[in-house]
């Protein structure tokens, strides 16, 4: 049967099980939109900006574990989606992005809205294709989905010139894909796995350091078995949150720059680091030369380039987490006995001591300003039974969400870690909501970040994506202000946002629901009201502007040397001390 390129595109999406495409039209993709308009199998969610479409595809992918799909036009459509592609590339999110291109005979002529889509996206995609002939379209799309979702996942771009979407070809969807230069290793080396098992048996102070790779691999069950069987404590990266139950007694929470005291201390003093699907990011290692000075390192990762990129590894295992953990567990099951637990008792005693010494803390006065941590904590307690999906933006609020929202399962946590993209949260939440219409999807946002993709509220309202946005409104680029207070003598260069806009009115203007928490006593009631609403909601929570996020390891610092609270001169300043400028005071009063 002969089909147009546009029809082939849709047939391919159906074959890949794609139900939703996040898209914004333009001249060279009109044929595709016209064809999409005349069918019902694939839903089109019209976004207000292509960056939104990209992040929605990411949110969809993270929540479902399947590829998220977006569709943009040539030129500015393409350049707008680049941030989302770069974000997906850094965080290994499977996204397939289709871009329109000028007709093949005009490519290279500086045609209207022409951009070198392949050149632009090359450094921020796992792979990209320019389809020059409609006869290649189906096979290319098949390869695109295959590459995006296998091995270390990532974004793939398919650039489709206008004439290719209009021309006709026989539709044949290939059954399988074989690319001679691309064969991800799934099974770990058996000998190395045996070495790992032996090291685990011998270790006195082992620690599991687990990340996003365990989420992609769907290996939380295997991880749980390993940890419980061996009684090894679990540190999660920002990207790994939820992969191990946050309330589990073996969980030490997040490690790294804003990780818990015990998570970082356990890492620093361990004698065996078992890294699984984590990539030793600089937010985790701190000063590399003093990272885990006493430890042997086991590293399981599907991408060989992650291994030994930043730190020395003693037992490298290239493979998929799930496959490797199954094999490892099988060996350990035969050998582990009560003795190892006894052997590790001193280690656990030490860890419990760290936990007692410096737990996560904050001070909420009943009639004082609202503390951001309190908001996250209450939101968590009020929603945990509903198994919510939680998206965040980037900044202090993101770190408090990571610390206080203790997720029980994977694929519930949507955050931008590697690129740290402000404006990620809301569209990502919408993408997840589009995949799961009946679930509760929360977005914990900052007053700065939310303004970077606020336009998508129109999409949320019209496409009925009832995301609940909770803005921790501190009137600042809070994370920037924190660094300025700690490292730039309190000079607030371009970090003060003031108190506009009025988010309640803004929500109203879009046809969403806006609520504001005026005092801490109202917090629960307003949150409950928001949770009971079936529309998109913004809950504006003015919070104490000068709250800082601790623990904190200064960039390039050593993991056991954490700042645990405001230094004395900062405390003075905040209690009405000398340095607060009139402009800053305004924010305190109105917030």
């Amino acid at each position: 049967m002969k089909l147009t390129g546009a029809e082939i595109f849709i047939e391919c999406l159906k074959r890949e099980g794609v139900k939703t495409v996040f898209a914004l039209p333009g001249g060279v993709v009109l044929k595709i939109f016209d064809t999409l308009h005349q069918q019902k199998d694939v839903e089109v969610i019209l976004t207000r900006h292509e960056q939104g479409a990209g992040h929605m595809a990411e949110g969809y992918a993270k929540a479902t574990g399947k590829a998220g799909v977006c569709l943009v036009t040539s030129g500015p459509g393409m350049t707008n989606v680049i941030t989302a592609l770069a974000d997906a590339y850094m965080d290994s999110v499977p996204v397939v992005c289709f871009s329109g291109q000028v007709p093949t005979n005009l490519i290279g002529n500086d045609a209207f809205q022409e951009a070198d889509n392949i050149g632009l996206s090359r450094p921020c995609t796992k792979y990209n294709f320019l389809v020059k002939d409609v006869n290649d379209l189906a096979a290319t799309i098949k390869e695109a989905f295959y590459i995006a979702t296998t091995g270390r996942p990532g974004p793939v771009l398919v650039d489709i010139p206008k004439d290719v979407s209009q021309n006709v070809a026989e539709f044949v969807y290939p059954k399988s894909v074989s690319i001679r230069g691309y064969n991800p290793t799934v099974d770990g080396n058996k000998w190395q796995i045996k070495q790992a098992a032996e090291a685990i048996m011998k270790a006195k102070k082992p620690i599991l350091y687990v990340g996003g790779g365990v989420v992609f691999s769907g290996a939380s069950q295997e991880l749980l078995e390993l940890a419980e069987m061996t009684q090894i404590p679990v540190d999660m990266t920002l990207m790994g949150l939820g992969v191990f139950p946050g309330e589990h007694p073996l969980s030490l929470g997040m490690l790294g720059m804003h990780g818990t005291y015990e998570a970082n201390m356990a890492m620093h003093y361990s004698d065996l680091v078992i890294a699984i699907g984590a990539r030793f990011d600089d937010r985790v290692t701190g000063k590399v030369s003093e990272f885990c000075p006493h430890a042997k390192v086991i590293h399981v990762d599907i991408d060989p380039t992650s291994i030994r990129k930043n730190i020395h590894v003693d037992i490298p295992i290239v493979g998929d987490c799930k496959t490797v953990l199954r094999e490892l567990n099988q060996i350990l099951r035969a050998t582990v006995n009560g003795e190892q637990k006894d052997l590790r008792k001193p280690w656990w005693d030490q860890i419990r001591e760290w936990q007692r010494a410096h737990p996560l803390t904050y001070n909420q006065d009943n009639d004082g300003p609202i503390k951001p941590q309190q908001v996250v904590k209450r939101l968590y307690e009020l929603t945990k039974d509903r198994d919510p999906i939680v998206a965040t933006d980037v900044g202090q609020h993101q770190m408090w969400a990571a610390q206080y929202f203790k997720l029980a399962r994977p694929n519930r946590w949507l955050t931008s870690g590697g690129l740290g993209t402000m404006g990620f949260g809301f569209p990502a939440a919408m993408g997840a909501q589009a995949a799961f219409r009946d679930r509760l999807v929360l977005c914990i946002a900052g007053d700065g970040s939310i303004q970077m993709n606020m336009q998508e509220m129109a999409t949320a309202v019209i496409s009925k994506l009832p995301v609940k946005i909770i803005i921790l409104n501190n009137g600042f680029h809070g994370m920037v202000r924190q660094w300025q207070d700690l490292f730039y003598n309190g000079r607030y260069a371009s970090s003060n946002l003031g108190t506009t806009p009025d988010f309640v009115k803004l929500a109203d203007a879009y046809g969403a629901v806006g609520l504001r928490v005026k005092k801490v006593g109202d917090l629960d009631a307003i949150l409950k009201e928001a949770l009971a609403t079936d529309k998109p909601v913004i809950v504006d929570v003015p919070t104490y502007p000068y709250e800082n996020c601790y623990p904190m390891i200064p960039a390039g610092g050593c993991n056991h040397e954490m700042i645990l609270e405001d230094p004395p001169e900062l405390k003075m300043k905040q209690s009405g001390g000398a340095k607060v400028t009139p402009e800053d005071k305004d924010t305190v009063l109105t917030a």
Partner: protein, 172 residues
């Protein structure tokens, strides 16, 4: 330390920019890079001369392998290899210098591949030291233009394998 890396890639558009982009994006060094199709026209062979410590070279090899259009990567420094580079050098040659130029060409077993009354165009191939040496000697005459191919290299057949093969041939 200098490493020569041999990379077999898909022979399609954009592959060179992927490889070059990898090196520039990650701050790896490229001293020279040469590409040409192999016997199988669907593949090309690249020879990349780069440098870095052990950790960097390990990353370069892994990152190249990670590129989807890369079929095979061999760090030739891990085996024995032979390498060659060709240079084409156009030199000014006034009357007296012409004989001197020819003498140098002779010593280096180079060839004169083009000649005008005032210039010789000389082709020389060999290892980089040899090329540097002939350039140094020709410089006083006045080098008008110089182009170099960058190095190409292949691994030596392992000795044992070579011996077995020799025996087989002897038997036949």
């Amino acid at each position: 330390m200098e490493h020569i890396i041999s990379v077999t890639v898909e022979n399609k558009f954009g592959v060179l920019s992927r490889v070059a982009g990898l090196f520039s994006g990650r701050g790896f060094n490229i001293e020279s890079l040469s590409v040409a199709p192999t016997l199988d026209p669907s593949m090309s062979q690249m020879t990349i001369v780069t440098s870095g410590d052990e950790r960097i070279i390990e990353q370069i090899v892994k990152q190249l392998n990670k590129l989807i259009d890369v079929i095979k990567v061999v760090d030739l420094n891990e085996t024995e290899f032979v390498s060659r580079e060709t240079a084409i050098i156009k030199v000014h040659t006034k009357d007296v210098d012409r004989a001197e130029a020819l003498r140098i060409v002779d010593i280096f077993r180079a060839n004169v591949i083009d000649s005008t009354p005032t210039t010789y165009t000389i082709e020389v191939s060999g290892d980089p030291k040899k090329i540097e040496a002939i350039i140094n000697l020709l410089q006083p005459l006045g080098i008008k233009e110089l182009v170099r191919t960058g190095r190409v290299a292949v691994a030596r057949e392992p000795v044992r394998q070579a011996a077995v093969q020799a025996k087989k041939i002897a038997r036949e």
